[in-house]
Symmetry: C2
Subunit: 189 residues, 2 copies
């Protein structure tokens, strides 16, 4: 009630990063990409746009342009306060778009072979993502909060993977499973 200007979660995240160190838009984009991108999608243009908005609000301050118009932004006292006000709020409801679940939902319109292919590919992708998260947890382990978020990524990927395996094992979905894993190792691509 006391604060009239509510910032959105993306802007708030930028403030969050900036409260550790001054950064340019480019660096912020990289920071986002390397951390929260998996559960909070931000495009590069949005980083720059929000940065300008935040500057207008007085929450960040642009330093002098460096080498390639490289402009470092630093958080202001007002910015720290805005961030503090944002983060105590109840987090909003998640918004997800999972095309895979759409495909499975309408799966009865899909040739079983094709579905099997799709699931196989998702299994590969999921395993890869899981590995990524595990590597990141090694690297970023310092902050326990960050560590827990990465842990969620790991838990989630594992859940996804075993669900996918459950799909392949469901006879109502994969009826024509005649040949088992024996011949599997032959085919590669």
């Amino acid at each position: 009630m006391s604060s009239s200007s509510e910032i959105n979660a993306t802007a708030a995240s930028l403030l969050g990063f900036l409260s550790d160190a001054s950064m340019t838009g480019w660096e912020l984009d990289a920071a986002v990409e390397g951390s929260i991108a998996n559960f909070w999608n931000v495009t590069r243009s949005q980083v720059y746009r929000e940065l300008r908005t935040l500057a207008d609000l007085g929450y960040v301050e642009a330093g002098d342009a460096g080498p390639r118009d490289r402009r470092p932004y630093s958080i202001t006292e007002a910015g720290r306060q805005a961030f503090a006000e944002w983060i105590v709020q109840n987090p909003g409801s998640p918004i997800v778009r999972m095309p895979l679940l759409l495909t499975v939902f309408f799966g009865r319109h899909l040739p079983p072979d094709r579905l099997a292919e799709i699931i196989e590919k998702e299994l590969d992708g999921g395993a890869e993502a899981l590995r990524q998260f595990e590597v990141m947890q090694q690297a970023y382990g310092a902050d326990p909060f960050v560590r827990q978020v990465l842990q969620f990524g790991i838990d989630y990927q594992k859940t996804l993977l075993s669900w996918l395996e459950g799909l392949t094992a469901d006879p109502a979905i994969m009826p024509a499973e005649s040949e088992k894993a024996s011949t599997r190792s032959n085919r590669e691509d």
Copy 2:
């Protein structure tokens, strides 16, 4: 390559519903809300807009307006084909926005008490969502594909819940946990 007009996943979903029965925009919105809304967000306006687009493309046909401008749409042969072409594609990558994870990620800027509150609330919400999915699985159990999608919802919620419980148990995150579960069963609301 053979098809020039690619439809988006939302439009495709509408075709998916319409392949079972003709429906009005309102009914489609309700169908979406009662099934895929959890993993594919669609607003009402988008339903109507896509319906018009699909009509322009010849994938659906509008029937005569009924009682309250209520206009039933039915899928055409071309529509069935477009849907068939859409569903065999590789599902795109998921896009998620989870404010909760943002909050935890920046959790060190948050008073521990407040974080505990937030987690508690999320635990409640998650338990409720889990119940919902379980009820839905009872009701919609007919189609095994739908059943599996609901199963994913259940698995996911369970993962979320145990992760949240892990958070409350992490001393690096919840340092001031003095009183344990003993008094918990008393409070009901």
